[in-house]
Each structure stands twice: as C-alpha cells, then as structure tokens.
Symmetry: C2
C-alpha cells in the first residue's frame, strides 16, 4: 500500500523540496498550488482570485481516499507598520496566503487524514512576539499558531490521534532569499531539503511529534536544530 501526502504550496521553494523528498521515498504526492509541480503524482490547481470557499471547493473532494500526511507550506511575506498606506491590503493578502491555505488544509485533514497521520502547517518564528514592522504578516502567522493549538485539542474535528504541528523557520535558503539578500550569512539559513527530510521523519514516526507544538527551526554554522515550543 503506497503512502500518500498532500503538499499545499507544492510549487514553492520549500514545497518543491518536500515533493521531491517524498517522491524519492515512493510516496504518492498531491501538490496544491497555482502552478503544477511536474514531479508530483497529482496536481490540484488553484486560482489567485479564489475566495476561501472557492479554494476549499477546489481542494476538498479532489483529494481521493485517505492520506498519511498533509503539509501546508503556502504563504508569503509583506512588511509595513500601522501607519503604512498598505496596512489593509497587506493584512488581507497575508490572511489569504497563510490562513486560507491553513484552514483548507485543516478542513481537508478532517475529511481525509488517516488515524495517526501528520498535519504540519507553517508559522513564523518572529510572530511568537510582536512584529511592529510587519503587522499583517505577524497577525496571520499568530492565527496559524493558535490554529495548531486548536487542532491538537479535543474534538477539533481531525482524528484524535493525529499529529499536528507547525514549522517556524527563521530564514529558508531559497533562490528568492538569495537574490533578495545576496550578502547574508548563508550558513545561518536553513536548506529546504533539511526541512523536507525532517517532515518525512515526522510522517514516518522516525522522529516523534508532540501534537500542538510550534517547532522552531534554527540554523547556525550550517547546523540545524529543532525546538518544540
């Protein structure tokens, strides 16, 4: 019996690394994104104009059968403080990119996640505190953090023994970050393949998961450590 995973945001930098890792392990991989990931077994395509309801309809039902893992690494970033003329637009965008995807992943988990399965969402290290210079981003990620706590609680609607957590990377080593910060210290950035392998270890119980936790991912001198909060 082939194991299966859904990767929400499967065409982003981290998403592609996760798709690659699980395909290599012979899993059936469904990618959900605006563009197809040719490496994935199946693709579900979204439209950027989708409302939350529309996005939900495209995804729920398109995923057949029961799955072993659902990972949501969709998201984005925008800055701006409370005085920014873009405060409203950016807050709505951050809500859409991080929260819509996480909510659809959560609802999908309630319909399709196997007993004992893994649901991993994506939070943000700095959003554990205030983020005055990126207000909308911080709010959306704080909402995702609280969602993880809710989903791990009793009668949350997903299997009671499911493993729910969130990854909180600081900076991922992606082509976009390399071009945006060409002079940064790359030895403090986390390789996407590193995170993908850890998620595989969680999904297969090679590394235990404490449900409801936020997992801080910190890389220093090219060595990555994981801390459950």
């Amino acid at each position: 019996m082939v194991s299966s995973i859904v990767v929400y945001g499967g065409s982003g930098a981290l998403g592609r690394a996760i798709v690659t890792a699980f395909v290599q392990k012979q899993w059936a991989v469904t990618s959900i994104d605006f563009v197809a990931n040719q490496e994935a077994t199946t693709n579900i395509l979204l439209e950027k104009s989708d409302s939350l309801e529309e996005q939900g309809k495209r995804v729920i039902g398109a995923v057949g059968g029961q799955v072993d893992a659902i990972v949501c690494v969709a998201g984005g970033w925008a800055g701006g403080n409370a005085a920014s003329p873009d405060l409203f637009a950016n807050s709505e965008l951050m809500w859409k990119q991080s929260v819509h995807s996480s909510l659809v992943a959560a609802h999908l988990a309630s319909k399709t996640l196997k007993s004992g399965g893994l649901l991993t969402l994506t939070g943000a290290y700095p959003a554990q505190k205030g983020t005055p210079f990126m207000i909308g981003y911080g709010m959306a990620k704080a909402a995702v953090h609280q969602l993880v706590a809710s989903l791990a609680g009793p009668d949350s609607g997903i299997p009671a023994d499911a493993k729910v957590n969130a990854i909180l990377p600081v900076t991922l080593d992606t082509p976009m970050n390399r071009s945006g910060m060409p002079n940064a210290d790359f030895t403090s950035w986390t390789p996407c393949s590193e995170v993908a392998e850890t998620i595989y270890a969680w999904a297969t119980n090679a590394i235990p998961v404490t449900s409801g936790k936020l997992v801080e991912i910190v890389t220093k001198d090219s060595k990555t450590s994981y801390t459950e909060k």
Copy 2:
C-alpha cells in the same frame, strides 16, 4: 479643552456602556458602528458589505483632529471545529468582525492618537490557548492579541508613548448573553459598566496601563479583577 474618544462598536452592549461613561464625564465621543448611538457626540456609520479598504476609508478622515483614546469593542462570535461545514464562512466572518475593526482602529491611531493616548482592543480569554470548538473565533482573537504586541513595539507607527492593550473578558453581562444563557450564574459575569469605568481610568491615567499587555477580566461573586498578561 474637551477630551475625546473614538468607540469602535459604539452601538453594541459594551460599546454603549463606554459611550455612556465617557459622555457623562463630558468627553466628546465618536461612535463607529452599523447603527448610530444617539448618545454619542458624533457617529460614523459603516456598511456590513464594506471591505477592509472601504471601512478604512469611511473612518480615516471622518475623525477630525487628535483624540485622547480609541477603543475597539467591535466583534462577534461563531463556533465550529475543523470539520464544520461552516468553518470557512465563520472564519471569514470572525476575521472581518474582530480583525478588520482592530486594524482600522490601529491605522486610525497612527493618524489621530495623541502622544500618551490610549488604544484598547478586544481579545478573548480562551484564545490564549487552543479553541477546538470555535476555530475561526480563536484565530481572529489570537491575531488581535499579536497585534497588541506589535503596536506596543518600537516604530509600530503609533505614538511611541501611547498605551496599547486589549481587554480579555470571559463573559460580559449583556442582554444577548442573558437571553442565550438564562440559567447561568450571573455573579460570574462582568457588567459592561464596570469595564467602561476601568477604560475611563486607563484613559485618564487614574489606573496605569502597561503597554502591550492583554488584560484578563474575571468576575467572581460579583467582584471583578484585572490581570495583565
């Protein structure tokens, strides 16, 4: 010089109590809501169909001059876990009711709040942890909690010496709650007038405010206590 306050949600149960309290103290009171509060000095009316941008446009600019306090008590409640067919609709509604209003209040503060002024938002006691039976509500309130931390931080866009906090009541003694829970122990509910008087004390520095804090409001045996978290 007359002191002035903006009450976002000034026609709700708690909002009306706040408008009454400040009018009695001879403050100029602007109420923002879907319906006018006749007791208020000025009313700004919103439409339920407003987007965040539209709501912002109605409010910003309509508030003249500088204000001493901005209080946002707009909000609502909806339940449902991750399996609920209403998950998406309720999450969007909670975001709109609690977060849109809080974001407009924050942006308004960046434009009009006096040095040393008060900005009080409304959080929720249970959203400090997971809320599996009310997922959308918990996420929206967690976002508001994180917004308070952001606004109290450096260069948040509001005056550096402003006092920012959120009230986290458990159950307010409102007509709606009385009709919804007629057999509850009302001695554990917090009177709206009690909260209004406390906000007045914060606004006038009769009671000091620690900026960035969530203030839990717990009533037991008809006695209300406030705990900064």
